[in-house]
């Protein structure tokens, strides 16, 4: 198998790599969010330490505080992080504010080609201005918002019969957003094994980015666009299009009809908790968590299965994931670049996927054995083919917080209409772009 041969090749590369890295040993600090893939990266990086002689330190921050903590670090010119796996939306600010080192010359010198990585990830995680060949990060961790469900419940004859009776359809993985809601409604309040269960856990968090990531998972399949003409910031008619209004109304209905009680401020952790405690039939979350979910002794294995965010008018998934950048304030940029060179190797990327990280390298993704290597691998490929990301502008934080407020006001606090929420969002975003001098 190609994956195995890549792993074997990594052993050979050790000697070659070590011989080219006789430079002074440094202590490097890599900053990222505190989650399952970060643990995999610690494991993976041991190989780099052995080969290069550099020591790796890690600074992992829980997701709800990750952006605050890291953006403050960058804005203050801090030297804590030599390498940063920053969120995709930070790329514009990272590039324009001089936080990230531009990697083009380094890539050219070391023969690292962006053509070796999945185009969607290069576009989203590495380039600024968007789509131009100006690279500020190497795609490190592909990710998208997907779904998982209780396969054991879906397979039970009594539940299947009840669903058929209620809807006239066979119970299975939803093929559209509306079907997803139908299934969620069916499970909501249902008694299974003497316990009341609920339809779905979705993102409703107010403080950071939660509800925006959840809502966009409905908006994108309905065909949501940020601008009528890319790069023109002409949002009227796009952001508040009839399709966008319908999608937002859908998300609100899904929240109201089918989530567990008290689900007003929930994000990744709450979604995982709801599923692992057997409260919900379906849950949305990032693919990054799927290896851990599959390995869970109580609700993983045969009891779980995965599906890509269902389409409606079109396929569409919310992009997650990150690129790895060298922080321009670091005094150890050479050693940090060594890490990126090492990380870009196909053999390392293969091991990265094996350990639970989501490689974006074509040699891994295009491997014939990839789809069957994990139960969610095929869904991951499908999701990455239809991903869409939030604004990646330098003013992304302002744009994000405006959306957090407007959609939370509408979906959770039940204030105003979907159209009003999106109209106000356009006003907020227009003000931001005017301040930025882009309108």
């Amino acid at each position: 198998m190609k994956l195995k041969s890549l792993l074997a090749a990594s052993a050979l590369s050790v000697a070659a790599f070590a011989s080219t890295n006789a430079a002074q040993a440094e202590e490097l600090t890599l900053c990222w969010a505190a989650w399952d893939p970060a643990n995999a990266l610690v494991e993976l990086s041991k190989e780099f330490e052995a080969q290069s002689g550099h020591k790796m330190n890690f600074e992992f921050v829980p997701w709800p505080n990750f952006a605050d903590r890291m953006l403050n670090e960058l804005n203050s010119g801090g030297k804590l992080c030599d390498l940063l796996i920053g969120d995709s939306q930070w790329i514009g600010g990272g590039a324009e504010n001089g936080h990230y080192v531009k990697l083009n010359d380094f890539f050219d010198k070391e023969g690292i080609s962006m053509d070796d990585f999945a185009p969607a990830t290069v576009y989203a995680y590495s380039t600024w201005p968007k789509g131009t060949p100006n690279y500020y990060a190497l795609p490190a961790m592909g990710d998208a918002n997907g779904w998982f469900y209780r396969k054991d419940w879906f397979a039970r004859e009594d539940i299947r019969a009840a669903y058929k009776e209620a809807t006239g359809k066979e119970l299975g993985e939803p093929k559209s957003q509306k079907e997803l809601m139908e299934i969620a409604k069916f499970f909501q309040g249902r008694e299974i094994d003497g316990k009341t269960v609920y339809g779905a856990s979705i993102f409703t968090e107010r403080g950071s980015e939660g509800i925006t990531m959840g809502v966009t998972s409905a908006l994108y399949p309905w065909g949501f666009k940020y601008e009528n003409t890319p790069g023109k910031y002409d949002m009227e008619g796009a952001v508040n299009s009839p399709e966008a209004v319908e999608a937002l109304e859908f998300y609100k209905e899904l929240y109201q009809c089918c989530t567990p009680p008290g689900y007003t401020n929930s994000y990744m952790g709450e979604s995982l908790d709801a599923f692992k405690s057997g409260q919900v039939a379906m849950a949305m979350n990032w693919f990054a968590f799927f290896p851990g979910l599959y390995a869970d002794p109580n609700t993983g294995g045969d009891k779980i299965d995965f599906f890509v965010n269902p389409p409606q008018n079109q396929a569409g998934s919310t992009l997650g994931g990150q690129g790895i950048s060298v922080v321009s304030y670091s005094d150890k940029q050479d050693a940090a670049l060594e890490y990126i060179k090492w990380f870009a190797q196909p053999s390392v990327q293969a091991k990265w996927w094996e350990l639970g990280g989501y490689s974006a390298h074509n040699s891994v993704l295009n491997d014939p054995g990839f789809k069957d290597s994990q139960p969610f691998a095929g869904d991951f490929l499908e999701a990455m083919a239809g991903v869409q990301d939030f604004w990646q502008e330098p003013a992304y934080a302002e744009l994000l917080l405006a959306m957090q407020k407007r959609v939370h006001d509408y979906v959770v606090a039940d204030q105003g209409t979907a159209k009003e929420a999106l109209d106000k969002l356009i006003e907020d975003w227009t003000e931001v772009f005017e301040d930025e001098g882009k309108l």
């Binding site: 968090e205 008290g262 606090a413």
Partner: protein, 315 residues
């Protein structure tokens, strides 16, 4: 002969220093002593305030070092004062402020009045009552988040026990109607003991002979309460209101832990909103203007209140 502290200090001063000091006036020596404090005050209080005022007239963003800083006059102030969302934040803050103070004063005074009576276990009860205010607001916020949980929260079960409703049929933190009250309840639970302690100090400062004289004059207990207790405790109560008012105007940690400002923006107090503008959106100029408006509001209200407090004290 016994030596005074002054004598000992004079002897301990090196001769060279003593000679120099001898040539200085009392006023100069006083300045030498207070100068470090004044310097610190200027550096960490006054300078930032002046700098904030300056920034409030610009479009400055602290996260965009290379961006041109433009003077925009009163534009930030105009935007803030005409923003309906900010007025909603102000309303949420006013609701929180008024109700927490009303409840804390009523319950705090009642508790102090009860505790002030001599009974067995008095000290133990005082200790138990003041426990909440010794906890960290972050801990209290998390703790009450669990208590308010609709499925497993004790609060919902207690309400359900008395009302017959399903515990999961209402959400204290998720409901637009209930969330503002949920944060009022938690703050009241945490800080009523503080008001109680101040009131207790006031009650214990009333000399017994005043009550004895009132009894000789055959004043009823109710009359004693309204003509002796209340007037003599009033300065203490007003002080408690001032402390709690200032604290709750800048309330942040407890509410962030409980609701994060939600649902929607229902419990987004001005301090939470200000933090978002300053350190999440990084609109530094705008946030500076916002901070100045809040500062002037608190300073103005507090000045009026302190004058009233002094008048009550002089009576």
């Amino acid at each position: 002969m016994t030596q005074t502290t002054m004598d000992r200090a004079a002897k301990a001063t090196p001769v060279r220093v003593a000679r120099r000091i001898r040539g200085l006036s009392d006023r100069a020596i006083a300045w030498i002593f207070v100068a470090p404090t004044i310097f610190l005050l200027l550096a960490i209080n006054i300078f930032p305030l002046i700098w904030t005022i300056r920034l409030s007239f610009t479009n400055y963003k602290a996260n965009r070092a290379g961006r041109e800083i433009k003077e925009i006059g009163l534009r930030n102030y105009e935007r803030i004062l005409t923003d309906s969302d900010i007025w909603l934040n102000m309303q949420a803050t006013a609701h929180f402020l008024v109700w927490t103070i009303v409840l804390q004063v009523l319950i705090g005074f009642t508790l102090a009045w009860l505790i002030n009576r001599k009974f067995k276990g008095n000290d133990l009860w005082t200790t138990i009552i003041v426990l909440p205010m010794m906890l960290s607001p972050a801990v209290v916020g998390n703790f009450w988040k669990f208590l308010y949980q609709p499925q497993i929260g004790l609060f919902n079960y207690i309400v359900a026990f008395f009302t017959g409703r399903e515990p999961s049929s209402f959400e204290m933190l998720g409901s637009v109607e209930l969330a503002p009250w949920a944060i009022v309840i938690v703050d009241t639970w945490m800080w009523t003991p503080f008001v109680m302690l101040i009131c207790l100090a006031g009650l214990r400062s009333i000399p017994d002979y005043i009550y004895e004289a009132a009894e000789i004059d055959r004043a009823s207990p109710i009359r004693q309460f309204f003509t002796i207790t209340i007037p003599m405790v009033l300065p203490f109560l007003m002080l408690a209101v001032l402390f709690r008012g200032i604290e709750n105007f800048k309330m942040f940690d407890l509410v962030v832990q409980l609701t994060g400002g939600g649902p929607g923006s229902t419990t987004e107090l001005t301090s939470i909103n200000l933090k978002r503008e300053a350190f999440e959106k990084w609109r530094t100029g705008y946030a500076s203007a916002y901070a100045i408006i809040l500062f002037v509001t608190v300073f103005g209200l507090a000045s009026i209140y302190v004058k009233a407090l002094n008048r009550v004290k002089e009576r």
